[in-house]
Symmetry: C2
Subunit: 180 residues, 2 copies
């Protein structure tokens, strides 16, 4: 016990710090709803792998027999997360942006192809913004300083600002490409 865990382990563990205990299945849903915006949405099978590992390390405690096992974070888990936050190096964000990648080599295709791609990305962005707004709305009422969803709501606001700005940039790019 005690080796360095992959960041995704901490991410999953972090999802259990909001006062409830969840099944693997529910954890996957929470990850899809929130974590996916700034980390990843691990595959179902990956969630179970993480839960097994976290369990082995005593960072979560399974409860319930047979089908439908829920997991709660332990005191050790909470301490371990806090230590991770305090001591481990943070690292710079990694962005894998297929739209930017394709724009880079836009000289290989007709401008209309690039513009169509950007428009399609705009639609995808709108959907993401909508989904994130819903998440943000669901945190309202418990998002003041000191309340349980304070930090999640800060992150959600950040995400919304990010998407909104990207939306504006894409629109600007379309404009510039169409002028040519």
């Amino acid at each position: 016990m005690g080796q360095e865990l992959p960041v995704t382990s901490y991410a999953v563990l972090g999802l259990l710090t909001f006062g409830d205990e969840l099944t693997g299945y529910e954890l996957k849903q929470r990850a899809d709803r929130t974590l996916r915006f700034y980390w990843v949405a691990p595959a179902m099978s990956q969630i179970y792998t993480e839960l097994a590992r976290l369990s082995d390390e005593g960072l979560v405690a399974p409860r319930g027999e047979g089908r439908r096992t829920t997991y709660a974070i332990t005191d050790d888990g909470r301490r371990r997360l806090a230590r991770w936050l305090e001591e481990s190096p943070v690292g710079f964000p990694v962005l894998k942006h297929p739209v930017a990648l394709r724009l880079l080599i836009g000289h290989l295709v007709k401008p209309a192809v690039t513009v169509a791609m950007l428009r399609s990305h705009l639609r995808a962005l709108d959907e993401e913004i909508l989904a994130l707004r819903e998440v943000r709305a669901s945190l309202e009422g418990a998002d003041a300083p000191g309340q349980p969803f304070r930090h999640p709501s800060l992150v959600a606001d950040w995400g919304l600002a990010h998407f909104t700005q990207e939306r504006a940039t894409i629109e600007d790019l379309i404009r510039r490409l169409e002028e040519e």
Copy 2:
């Protein structure tokens, strides 16, 4: 020949569409300088793996014997890239943002810890902005519509806007956290 390649293959291949031919070593440098901002900076060994694969598929042509082999994109490679741009689904960006992830569970540590992390990220951002500005500056003079670095400069501008906006958001977050 002709199976779907991983996106990173296309990314590496794309770096060879700017009129020059490079060694694996030089390709790595170019990736570190530019690709890393919106895709990844593949490890040296990965570059060589990609070059072997692209070579097998006839998308790049090696030139030069023994030590120091340069690679140029072939006509097939250019066609393949164009087809990829036109036909394959684009996919939404994936962001792995350790700062956002840690902010999410900020309730586990003293506010000062979170603020310190954000400040440190601010410094990292400044370095990235500086590096990207240099890249952008190096494209000047060939960045007008129709010129070879038109698209790379569009992407660089986008990246700068993105980092600048993130910088402002982080400063705002620090302000909000310090008010408490």
